[in-house]
């Protein structure tokens, strides 16, 4: 195991784990990342599957030589940038304040 925590540290971890704030932090985090991961994986896999099995759709030209396949590929970039930005805003606003407060409590208790 990683270096064993001191008894004070262990007590601090256990106490924090049981607090409502920690439960809220965990719920907020999981509530964002689980649906988001499912969504972007599904969006990506759908794109891969359509590239394979839906040539009629993908080869449709939208303007000039630009077809749906290319636009959808570029859209994957847009959604990746968008989700990354969304997560950075969400975590800074909804998660970081709780994490900071709990972290400060830990430092006080573990080093007491």
């Amino acid at each position: 195991m990683a270096e064993k925590a001191t008894p004070q540290a262990q007590a601090a971890y256990d106490r924090i784990h049981a607090t409502d704030e920690f439960k809220r932090l965990k719920k907020t985090y999981m509530g964002f990342v689980v649906p988001m991961t499912i969504a972007f994986m599904a969006w990506y896999l759908l794109y891969v599957l359509c590239s394979n099995y839906a040539p009629g759709l993908m080869n449709t030209k939208v303007f000039g030589n630009v077809n749906i396949a290319l636009l959808w590929g570029l859209l994957q970039f847009v959604t990746t940038f968008g989700i990354a930005y969304w997560y950075s805003q969400f975590s800074a606003k909804r998660m970081d304040p709780i994490a900071d407060a709990l972290n400060a409590e830990y430092d006080k208790e573990a080093n007491a």
């Binding site: 590239s51 394979n52 000039g64």
Partner: protein, 553 residues
């Protein structure tokens, strides 16, 4: 008559000139990186300095370093080459390699920074039995890194000899040995600080070079993308099929499944690559780890968008002999020869300068990536195998660093020794295989450890060894190793001689089987084991990984 001979004389001397220019730029890259390494080594004293650069890098710096670590020669030369040759189908690599970063951002980077220390095994062994888990994690780390390393080094040999115009086998061997010696030097002297700065400089050079060539390409088409695509399709000989899915992977039902299998491995592999994971330890906090991934996504995303322009640009603008050279190089020369074309074409001064510049950037790219891989494996040998498994945690930091430096020598030596005979084989598949192993062996173990309380030692071992053995094993029995036959020119397409055929697995990419298997085995191993002690420290791991309480400073 005299006019003709003077023309050929001009061409010959300009070819010598450009090789001299290329060689001097290569030398400049070497001197620059060696200088950086010496400069960075002054402040490398403790184990945290050596393994994690003193955790002193900012999110922006680490974002560039991640980009420098991740955008390998396989990306820079390989993807633009794949697009230049196969059109749209080459684009999948760009998309998979980028979307993969969301897995790292949302599920791995911050939690790993908070709960780990120096290596991937630190995180996996947090609540498990140390010796078996660290042995498994180190095995997987070393195998993934060596696969990746070999692909880069063999590529370096071929690339440098092509660019410098030396074709002898001895010159290629010397190039590989020189790259190996340089990477050993960066890692032994510079540790993580030196390696990180080499990667940052490389990322800046690579982005600068890529942006420059892309702008020049787009300017040729009045910044009209549609015209660029049209000319690429016309010039490719494939017509509009060049811009549509299926040119490379659409041939049969099997190749379509191969495409899906590759797509899954690309998107899940990144967050399990050990040399990427250790980068998250080089920043002071989880928040900086998040910042670094955000920067990395911006840099890497921009880069992959530009590879699209480079790839289609090469298809559109490179013609004649140069086009044949791209085909002969398997696509690897697409970017350098495109640079020559937009600079004014073969024989022009502008062309020679841009060709030399992009070649030097490609060389810097290879050096930075191999350094990161060597450091990661050497760290795992020293920190996991030597200090934990062998010395049971009783080794001093000084001894660990000493062992890490010796390991860098050994791993570098092994890589050189394997890469030299490996040149006669087509080793490009090793990059895709490294992603498949990372996704099948490492990612299941990391995610289960972070999110599943019941997960235990046997679960880790089954997922790592199961994912590792199944992905490598399936490739051994795939058309990559034997049974693919010969191409139109009678060239053997598999690694083994034509007379041997042990293949029964139809896909070249094992991910679609081995990734679910890695997760399944992690689950089965866990529930068949009676060990419950791993649950005792799950509360601690959860608090620490989500809040940063007690994280390594």
């Amino acid at each position: 008559m005299s006019a003709m001979s003077s023309i050929s004389f001009v061409q010959a001397s300009s070819s010598d000139d450009h090789q001299a220019l290329t060689a001097s730029l290569f030398l400049l890259v070497v001197l620059l990186t060696v200088g950086i390494t010496f400069w960075a080594s002054r402040n490398t004293k403790t184990a945290a300095d050596y393994y994690a650069g003193g955790r002193s890098f900012s999110g922006v710096q680490n974002g560039f370093a991640i980009g420098g670590d991740y955008m390998s020669a396989a990306s820079f030369l390989g993807i633009s080459g794949a697009i230049a040759l196969s059109g749209y189908d080459g684009f999948l690599y760009s998309i998979g390699f980028l979307v993969a970063w969301l897995v790292a951002l949302l599920l791995v980077a911050e939690l790993l920074r908070n709960s780990g220390r120096f290596t991937m095994a630190d995180q996996l062994a947090y609540r498990m039995r140390q010796t078996p888990v660290r042995t498994a994690a180190a095995t997987s780390t070393i195998i993934v890194s060596i696969f990746y390393l070999l692909a880069q080094m063999v590529g370096a040999g071929a690339l440098v000899s092509l660019l410098l115009g030396v074709d002898s086998q001895a010159a290629k061997n010397i190039t590989i040995a020189a790259v190996g010696v340089l990477m050993i030097f960066y890692v032994v002297i510079g540790g993580m600080k030196g390696t990180t700065w080499v990667q940052i400089v490389k990322a800046v050079l690579l982005m600068g070079g890529t942006i420059l060539i892309s702008v020049l390409v787009l300017a040729k088409f009045g910044f009209n993308i549609s015209e660029l695509l049209g000319q690429a399709a016309d010039n490719s000989g494939a017509g509009s099929a060049f811009l549509e899915p299926g040119l490379k992977y659409g041939a049969s039902a099997t190749s379509k499944i191969d495409f899906i299998s590759l797509g899954i491995a690309l998107v899940l592999g990144t967050a399990g690559l050990p040399h990427i994971l250790v980068r998250f330890y080089t920043v002071p906090t989880a928040r900086q780890a998040r910042q670094s991934v955000l920067w990395a996504i911006g840099i890497i995303g921009t880069f992959y968008l530009l590879t699209l322009i480079l790839g289609f640009g090469a298809a559109a603008l490179v013609t004649g002999d140069a086009k044949q050279r791209i085909v002969d190089s398997g696509g690897n020369l697409a970017s350098p020869l495109l640079a020559e074309a937009v600079g004014g074409g073969p024989g022009s001064t502008g062309g020679a300068i841009l060709l030399a510049l992009i070649s030097a950037v490609a060389f810097a790219t290879i050096l930075a990536v191999v350094a990161g891989l060597t450091l990661t494996s050497a760290s795992s040998v020293a920190h996991d195998l030597y200090a934990s498994v062998w010395k049971k945690g009783q080794a001093s930091g000084t001894d660990e660093i000493k062992v890490a430096r010796i390991s860098a020598f050994v791993i570098g030596g092994v890589a050189i020794a394997l890469a030299i005979p490996g040149q006669s084989l087509n080793v490009a598949f090793l990059v895709a295989l490294a992603f498949a192993v990372a996704a099948s062996a490492n990612l299941p173990a990391l995610l289960f450890n972070l999110f599943w309380k019941r997960f235990n030692t046997r679960g880790v071992l089954w997922s790592i060894y199961g994912g590792l053995i199944s992905s490598v094993g399936l490739v051994i029995f795939s058309p990559i190793v034997s049974g693919k036959g010969v191409d139109a020119n009678g060239k053997n397409l598999s690694l083994l001689p034509e007379s041997i055929d042990i293949s029964w697995f139809p896909l070249e990419n094992p991910g679609i089987v081995s990734i679910p298997l890695g997760f399944l085995l992690g689950y089965l191993g866990t529930i068949t084991s009676k060990e419950r002690s791993s649950e005792d420290r799950f509360a601690e791991l959860e608090v620490r990984s989500l809040t940063g309480a007690g994280a390594e400073k």
